[in-house]
């Protein structure tokens, strides 16, 4: 975050950019292969990796010093998890529907 050197952020920005483009190409190509039940798992793993790259390097979560910020991010993910997990624990286990 601080200015150790002027060129280091640029290098990471361009590396992340290329990684994101490769991830997009990868998820597009892998979707054409039949992996059975793992299709959506692979798609979501690639998407989450890309989202993490954007959050860590472009949104500067990596190196963020403020604890309050980390609390907000972690609780956001936690509440999203509650929303999705509890809903699917209900809808996913209804043998009668």
């Amino acid at each position: 975050m601080s200015d150790h050197s002027k060129s280091s952020p640029l290098k990471s920005y361009f590396s992340v950019w290329i990684a994101l483009l490769v991830g997009t190409f990868l998820t597009y190509e892998v979707a054409k292969i039949d992996l059975g039940v793992f299709n959506s798992a692979v798609a979501l793993i690639i998407a989450t990796t890309k989202a993490l790259l954007v959050a860590m390097f472009f949104m500067h979560l990596k190196g963020a010093s403020e604890r309050l910020l980390k609390l907000v991010v972690i609780s956001t993910i936690f509440f999203l998890f509650i929303l999705l997990a509890l809903s699917m624990a209900d809808y996913g286990t209804r043998p009668w529907s």
């Binding site: 994101l20 997009t24 979707a31 998407a47 954007v54 959050a55 949104m59 991010v73 809808y91 529907s97």
Partner: protein, 234 residues
């Protein structure tokens, strides 16, 4: 005693530092924390839609596959690349502000907006295709004799496919609305940059505007595989 008081609350000559903040760093952190809290509410807002998607995808698995296959995934993939490039130009604009390169900052902001407009243009083409194919939920909706991927001879239930398209239009539409709001924010940032308001010292609006833009990018990163890439394999 009075010295340290002055050091904390004194009227410095820096117009960028509001008097209720002790230091510039505290002011910056407060702004970005506010933006992150807003983004947290946005995650929950989109989360509800993702939850609805999950439930119906679970119920109407094959129908969703057939409906998803009718969307042009190449257009969606291009749009993903366009948004990723726009995220890069946003961080480059902030870097330019930090290193006092005004021309580069303005160029990067304009480039970001052009990528945003390109995204909306491609989206418009996609929507037009869906209107032409009568895949828009409503009175003229039609999705007859579309095979379920992996089940030859079995056809998708048009009512179930209609739910997929309803989710598709609501989720991508809401995302496109966020893009339009983002373009508005970046127009304002461009005017501020043009007027020379951003310095290596003070460029918080650029940073929090950028946070919003990256968040919209992340939403798309999930929408792309979930709406465009399910059951693409032959």
């Amino acid at each position: 005693m009075s010295d340290s008081y002055v050091a904390v609350h004194g009227e410095t000559n820096d117009p960028a530092l509001r008097h209720h903040f002790a230091t510039e760093e505290q002011q910056r952190n407060a702004s970005s924390l506010g933006m992150w809290i807003f983004l947290g509410t946005e995650v929950m807002f989109f989360g509800g839609l993702f939850c609805a998607y999950l439930i119906y995808r679970h119920w109407y698995f094959g129908d969703f596959g057939a409906a998803s296959k009718s969307i042009d995934a190449a257009l969606g993939g291009t749009n993903t690349a366009v948004l990723i490039c726009s995220s890069l130009t946003v961080v480059l604009a902030i870097w330019a502000a930090q290193t006092a390169q005004r021309t580069l900052m303005i160029a990067m902001l304009i480039l970001t907006m052009l990528f945003g407009l390109a995204f909306l243009g491609i989206k418009g083409k996609e929507y037009k295709d869906k209107f032409d194919e009568h895949h828009v939920p409503g009175a003229s909706f039609s999705f007859e004799h579309e095979e379920i991927p992996g089940h030859p001879g079995q056809y998708a239930n048009p009512r179930h496919a209609e739910i997929f398209f309803a989710l598709y239009f609501i989720m991508t539409g809401l995302h496109a609305l966020h893009m339009i709001v983002g373009l508005g924010i970046f127009t304002w940032l461009l005017i501020m940059a043009w007027k020379g308001r951003f310095t290596p010292h003070y460029h918080t609006p650029l940073e929090i505007g950028g946070l919003y833009w990256h968040f919209v990018d992340i939403v798309w990163i999930y929408l792309f595989p979930l709406l465009y890439l399910i059951d693409r394999h032959p």
